[in-house]
């Protein structure tokens, strides 16, 4: 039997790793495609929200009164500002201002943490009032209000999860920046992290009026 190995020429090693090629546009394309999946993920939740809001219009209004408009608004501004600092960080590295880029990322993380802290207070306040999924108080309320809080906790909870993931990603970017893995000529990683962070912001832009501004 002829062995396929016979008379084989060795492939030079540098050719043997064909998997390395840098393509910033390709990387960005992959990121955008991933963001679409995130959009559709939340899209499913928004669809449910639409259906239930239509079905339980009154209950939604009553239940929404319990939410803290102040905290929601502050969080909106915090998140919008963190988006700004993220964009500025990229703008800085494009101009080869490494220190500025690093500081802008640090500020972004700080805002993200602020967002989480406020969220924490908001949730614990509700939980103290006995309003959390499956709580006896909540189960005694009309169905529409149960659903409202079901949507509230799952949507803001999922969003908060994304904030946390975003923080982790940004911390990685910080390390990359400091170690010069992200430079003026190769900053696609930072750009992609930025895209992700803006998406988190984008979703909040819709969550905010849907939960806090019902009258």
């Amino acid at each position: 039997m002829s062995k396929p190995n016979e008379g084989v020429e060795k492939v030079p090693l540098h050719l043997a790793d064909p998997h390395h090629h840098k393509d910033a546009i390709g990387a960005k394309m992959g990121m955008w495609l991933f963001l679409f999946t995130e959009l559709l993920l939340f899209g499913g939740l928004f669809l449910l929200y639409m259906a239930y809001r239509l079905q339980y219009t009154q209950d939604f209004v009553i239940a929404a009164k319990e939410l803290n408009l102040m905290m929601g608004t502050i969080n909106t501004i915090v998140l919008l500002t963190s988006s700004l600092t993220m964009a500025l960080s990229i703008a800085a590295i494009q101009r080869n201002k490494k220190t500025l880029a690093i500081w802008m990322l640090v500020v972004t993380v700080a805002f993200a943490l602020a967002f989480m802290v406020i969220k924490y207070f908001e949730w614990t306040a509700k939980i103290h009032h006995g309003i959390y999924p499956g709580s006896p108080d909540l189960l005694n309320m009309p169905n529409g209000e149960i659903i409202f809080y079901g949507m509230y906790y799952s949507m803001t909870g999922l969003h908060a999860l994304h904030v946390i993931i975003g923080v982790v990603i940004i911390l990685f970017m910080l390390v990359f920046l400091i170690r010069d893995k992200i430079t003026q000529h190769d900053y696609i990683k930072l750009e992609n992290a930025g895209l992700y962070w803006h998406l988190v912001d984008l979703i909040w832009i819709f969550l905010y009026p849907l939960f806090y501004l019902i009258h």
């Binding site: 669809l47 703008a91 696609i188 832009i205 819709f206």
Partner: protein
């Protein structure tokens, strides 16, 4: 491909970002302040419209899509159209049940 990268990168100034941020904050203030006004059933629509404008700003400037290759815009439209279609088709059930 690397020169491709540089060529297609339109640099946005710090100032532009600040302006976008200011508009976003103003829109937020606007949407809060008119939330108390009784617009009846179109209140939700107005709130969503403002949210849409805000997200338009974020997507175009912060996320840079305005200055990106046309393919990104097409992709984005495809994704949005899909989402829209899901909403419309499901509404046929929700609204007419």
């Amino acid at each position: 491909m690397t020169d491709n990268h540089n060529k297609e990168h339109h640099l946005i100034g710090y100032g532009t970002y600040f302006m976008i941020w200011l508009s976003l904050i103003s829109l937020t203030v606007l949407t809060v302040s008119i939330a108390g006004v009784n617009f009846g059933s179109i209140a939700l629509l107005i709130a969503l419209l403002i949210a849409a404008i805000k997200s338009g700003l974020v997507i175009n400037y912060f996320m840079h899509i305005k200055f990106d290759d046309i393919i990104f815009k097409i992709f984005f439209l495809v994704a949005m159209a899909t989402l829209f279609a899901i909403f419309v088709l499901t509404s046929f059930d929700i609204f007419f049940r």
